[in-house]
């Protein structure tokens, strides 16, 4: 397979300004012709960085950073797309959670409560839990990303 000429560079940004930086990069690239950027990627998992796909050398990317507010620096070195392509297919948030897993609810009215997972809906990315310390079992359906795994169930069978 022919390796593409495009490299992936990481640009450090101000926290929570990743999307703004991506938009600004697009704006700057459209206005001038010296720097070539094919795409800008902002993975959710990678806080404080944006990934830039470009055939240019790192010096050009450093030049680009100078033009963009909230962009701070270029991480030295570059990588191939194969290293970062897993960001393009985000794994479902409910993966790694099985029935019987003890989770802590981290958002919503039951924040801070521990609960046992009863049912998983991977399509909707929702899980149904029962509160640990509740006298009567009340099933509560919460979003998959509003829980944190405390302890995995021992028998997965």
């Amino acid at each position: 397979m022919v390796e593409s000429a495009n490299r992936i560079y990481a640009i450090k940004t101000t926290a929570k300004q990743e999307r703004t930086v991506a938009d600004n990069i697009e704006k700057v690239i459209r206005e001038q012709k010296d720097i070539h950027v094919m795409a800008v990627m902002v993975p959710e998992e990678l806080k404080g960085y944006v990934l830039v796909e470009s055939p240019d050398s790192i010096a050009r990317i450093e030049q680009l950073v100078e033009l963009i507010p909230h962009a701070r620096a270029v991480v030295q070195g570059s990588t191939a797309l194969s290293e970062v392509e897993h960001f393009l297919v985000p794994k479902p948030v409910v993966s790694g959670i099985t029935e019987g897993t003890i989770v802590e609810i981290i958002a919503g009215p039951f924040k801070g409560e521990k609960a046992v997972v009863k049912r998983i809906d991977s399509g909707k990315e929702e899980i149904t839990v029962e509160l640990y310390e509740s006298m009567v079992p009340i099933p509560i359906t919460v979003r998959g990303d509003s829980v944190r795994v405390v302890e995995r169930s021992e028998d997965a069978s």
């Binding site: 697009e26 094919m38 800008v40 393009l88």
Partner: protein, 66 residues
Amino acid sequence: MVVRKKVLKVCRECHRVVEGEACVICGTSNLSDDWAGYVVIIDPEHSEIAKKMNITMAGRYALKVR
């Protein structure tokens, strides 16, 4: 004064970030405001990322739409 950022929506079919009430490309109003990950495709013909994601049009896309 705190200025709240406008909530952008994403087309559930093409994952394109849209401003307004309907997707410009698909024409559907099947939009979602619960999305994560962000990709700006500038040159879809030469972009490896665009090829991986089967995107043929430049624009702003979300990686994950709920």
